[in-house]
Structures are given as C-alpha cells and as structure tokens.
C-alpha cells in the first residue's frame, strides 16, 4: 500500500484510523500544528487524510501548502463540522476527495482501494510519446487536439476554445500572441495547424507550418509575453502554459475581501441552514466557559488559566468561522488568542488587571453580537462588529505594549471638517 498520512487536531483516535489498524494498513499521524510549521514532513506521502474539528479555517492553507509541495498527493478531507461551503472551499483549494461523517468501514476501504488505482494511473500514464509535436518534451499524455487553420474563422474557433480556460493574465496574453501569429500566417498564405498537448505541469500549443524564416517569428517573440515560454524551429513554434487553475487569490486583496452589501440579522438567519445557526449554542457554552476562566484568572493571575482562556477564544474563533459569513470576525478573535499565547510574562504581570477588564469587555461584546444576530435578530448589519473587533485587538495590543515600538505606528488619523 502507498504511504498514508493522517493529519488531525483531536487527540482521540478517529474511526478510520482504527480501520487502518484493523486492516494493517500502515499510516503516519501528524497534528495540524506540526504540518503548518513544517510542510516538508509530508514529503513522500501519497495520500493525506485531513481530519479537522477545530482548525477548519486553516484548511485552505494546509491544502495549498500540500499541493505546492507535491501536486500528486491525494488529499482527502473529512470533518464532522463541515458545511457545503467548507467542502467547496476545500475542493477549490485542491482537495481531491471529501468523506462525509459518519463514515463506515467498507466505504473507507473502498476509497483507499480507489486511491491506489488512481495513484497507479497517475504514475504510469505519462510515457514517451513518439508522435509528439511540441518542442519542449516527449513525455506527454497520449491525447492531443488538433486545429486545422485555413481561414480567420478557424483561428477564431481555436481562440474561443481556449479563451474560456485562460486562468491568468499571462495565459490570456499568450493566447492573444498565438492569435496574432496565426493572423500573420494566414495573411502570408501559410498552411498550418495548431496542436494542443499536455503533461502534468503544462499545456503546449504548437504551430506546425510550412517553413518560414525564423527571424520574423523570433523578433515577435522577444518583444512579447511568450519570450520565456516559447521554442521554435523551421517548422514549429511551441508555447507552453502553466496548468495552474484560476485562483481567487488572483483578485486584489481589497476586492476579494470587501463585503459590499449589508445583511440584516433576520435576512441572515432566514437564509442560513439550521445546522449552521444551531452552532450558536456552542458559542454560548464557550462564552460561559470563558467567563468562568476569566473569573479564575482575575483571582489567580496564573499562566495556565490564561492559556485556557486563549484556547477558548481560539475555539470560539473556529466556531464563528463555521458560520460562513464571519471570517473577518473569526480572524480578529483568533488574533486575540494568538496575542494571549505569545504575550511575555512581564507584560502579563504588569497588566493583569487591565487584561481581566479587556477579557470581560470582549466577552460582553461577543455575547451582544451573538444575541443581536441569532436570538433577537435585531441587528441591521451582521458585520457591524468585524472591523471594530480588529481595531480593538490592535488597540489592546497598543495598550499592553505601551513602551514598544507600536506606539509609533501610523494609525489613528484625525480629520477636522
């Protein structure tokens, strides 16, 4: 059997792990933090089971990092807390499969067998191909697509076929370059066709024409966006395209994250599945646990209780993240947890009372946010707390690090009208 890695964030053994043990299928187990710190640990693995309960918001990062390490690793995602939105996020980040829980034993074994077949196929399907056209490699898939170009309409058909899949500005530029070369060849009555071939990494589009002086094409290439990805001889011109899929990260950050419409609590609750809104109960439980721990910290001022508070904030952030609409708020709460985790002893000792007050007010804000949206449904904009919470985090950090360089940060502009 291939190498299997199981990444989890829960100490309890999971069902499919016990299935592996029963069936003597070897696997290595890692926790999420290990992998986030050092993705290289997954080098050489064929299948990765990503089983998350708490760190769901890290899923996109983890998947992307694994795929960057080796795009042939099969990533299988499974979580009891997943919603349709998370599955979509995971799949669009590069996950190969999703196992809905509860999972039964035969399903796991069937899946593992399928992955084995898929891996064998992936490893063996690329072979030296005698009838290749491109000038980059003969190790291509056996399939190809040929476009016979006799007139401009044919060229337009070719262009239309690929333009829909152009995944970046670079691909678009290369396709336009090919179109221009095609137009030039048609004008010069050259008989030619274009062949599309591919391997795991690239697509290759190759012109096959009647011999032309290389200098003409060469001069066009060096002034264009294809200069780093083109090869030519007397009969052919090949251009290679990265096979990267269109990622939302290509959008400018501010456009991607901007939430332009205002959603009221009532609209949100009405349009959100019950399975998501009921996660609010979990938030209420965490709020109660937080209050208990803050009370405890208020009298003990000990590091262990502070750590427990940090973990509860982290859990709160993860649950908020599951509500689909509140990534920013989740991030802000997570920042607080992170700050608590990394704060030095001196800062904590010097500011213990202030920290207690901050915690109480943060929990108050969160309770008000939760009840305003999910209980009373009276909030006119469900995102009202998002930016405010981020600002509060920075404000708190500033307060606690009075002597640090943060004081010189260029924020807090005032403008008089």
């Amino acid at each position: 059997m291939k190498n299997i890695a199981v990444i989890g964030d829960n100490k309890k053994p999971k069902f499919f792990e016990s299935v592996f043990k029963q069936e003597s299928i070897e696997y290595d187990k890692f926790n999420v933090k290990d992998i986030l710190d050092n993705i290289q640990k997954l080098e050489g693995f064929d299948v990765v089971f990503l089983n998350l309960e708490h760190n769901i918001k890290d899923i996109t990062n983890i998947i992307k990092n694994i795929k960057n390490l080796d795009k042939n690793i099969i990533i299988v995602v499974t979580s009891p807390n997943f919603t349709g939105n998370h599955i979509n996020k995971a799949i669009s980040s590069g996950a190969d499969d999703f196992l809905k829980q509860p999972i039964n034993k035969s399903m796991i074994l069937k899946k593992v067998s399928n992955y084995k077949t898929l891996l064998d196929f992936r490893k063996n399907r690329i072979h030296e191909n005698e009838s290749f056209y491109n000038l980059f490699t003969d190790k291509i898939f056996s399939r190809n697509t040929r476009f016979n170009i006799n007139k401009e309409d044919d060229l337009s058909e070719f262009w239309e076929y690929f333009i829909l899949n152009a995944s970046s500005e670079d691909s678009l530029c290369k396709l336009n370059f090919i179109f221009s070369i095609g137009e030039w060849l048609i004008r010069n009555n050259n008989k030619f066709f274009i062949v599309s071939e591919e391997d795991r990494e690239y697509y290759y589009l190759t012109f096959k024409y009647t011999p032309i002086p290389q200098t003409v094409i060469h001069n066009l290439i060096i002034k264009s966006c294809v200069k780093e990805s083109a090869k030519m001889d007397d009969f052919r011109l090949s251009i290679k395209f990265n096979k990267t899929t269109q990622q939302e990260t290509q959008l400018p950050q501010d456009i991607k994250e901007e939430k332009t419409t205002t959603i009221s609590a009532k609209e949100f609750v009405d349009s959100t599945p019950l399975e998501i809104t009921t996660k609010m109960d979990a938030l209420e439980d965490i709020e109660e646990a937080l209050t208990v721990k803050i009370n405890q910290f208020s009298s003990n001022k000990d590091r262990e209780t502070l750590k427990a508070i940090g973990e509860l904030f982290k859990e709160y952030a993860s649950t908020v993240f599951l509500m689909n609409e509140f990534d920013k708020l989740s991030e802000a709460i997570d920042k607080i947890a992170e700050y608590i985790e990394n704060a030095d002893e001196e800062t904590i000792d010097e500011n213990a009372d202030l920290i207690v007050s901050v915690f109480y007010s943060l929990v108050d804000d969160l309770i008000k946010w939760r009840t305003g949206i999910f209980v009373n449904q009276e909030t006119s904009d469900i995102h009202y707390l998002d930016n405010s919470m981020i600002a509060s985090c920075l404000q708190i950090e500033h307060l606690l690090n009075k002597n640090s360089s943060n004081q010189d940060n260029d924020y807090g502009d005032v403008e008089f009208f």
């Binding site: 006119s380 995102h383 930016n387 405010s388 981020i390 807090g412």
Partner: protein, 128 residues
C-alpha cells in the same frame, strides 16, 4: 466647570480603551466621561433632558448607524451647535461627505492613538 464628553459605541472594549485614553483629562478634572454601548438608550436620554458638551460616536452599530444618530441629534435645536466626532474603522470619502453634510466636526479612525483622541477632545472643547 467639567465638560461632559459622551462616547457611544456598541463595543465595550472600544469604550474601555477610549476611557483609558482620556484618563489623564479626567484625572486633571477637565472632562467627565459618560459611555453608552447602546445608541438607542443615548437617544432616549437625550430626549429626556440629558445634555453634553461633546459627542464621540461609532458609525457601524447594530441598531442604528452612528451618522443617522448624529443626524437625529443635530435636528434638535438644543444640540444643533454641539460638536460631534466620529470614531470609526470606516474611512470612505463618501461617508465623510455625509458626515460633513450632517454637521459633524471631525473624523477619527480606529484604532487610535490615545494622544490623538486626547488632542482632538482638547481642540474641539478648546481646552489648553
């Protein structure tokens, strides 16, 4: 005489950090601070003869937008001339234009430096 400064913000954390920021002015007995984490409560108090010298308000709040609240305050002849500052994470020119039209005195962006808030209050209330 103590100047009465009112902070309205849905976030208790922001109110707490604002109070800490202006603590020196309170300790010097220059200003008195009153905080509201519920804008509707503040509006109802204002209708019942509550008064202030400076209002500092958030913009994005769950029940009423801070600019809408400022508009309501300014429509009362008693408060027409009272200075109002926005204290918000928002920074869009469109909102600032609306704020100017309503008659706000200024705009402070969050997160804020304590000194910035202190200076802004001193300037608006002409405190030396």
């Amino acid at each position: 005489m103590l100047k009465k400064v009112v902070f309205v913000d849905d976030s208790k954390t922001v109110l707490m950090t604002a109070e800490l920021a202006v603590k020196p002015l309170v300790e010097q007995q220059v200003i008195d601070i009153i905080t509201y984490d519920d804008a509707t409560k503040f509006l109802s108090d204002v209708e019942n003869d509550f008064s202030f010298d400076l209002l500092i308000t958030d913009v994005n709040m769950p029940n009423i937008n801070g600019l809408e609240m400022a508009k309501q305050i300014k429509s009362n002849p008693k408060f027409m001339a009272k200075p109002i500052l926005a204290l918000t994470t928002e920074n869009s020119p469109e909102l600032k234009t609306i704020a100017k039209e309503i008659g706000l005195t200024g705009w402070i962006t969050k997160p804020f430096k304590p000194q910035t808030l202190e200076k802004a209050i001193k300037r608006v209330l002409r405190i030396r």
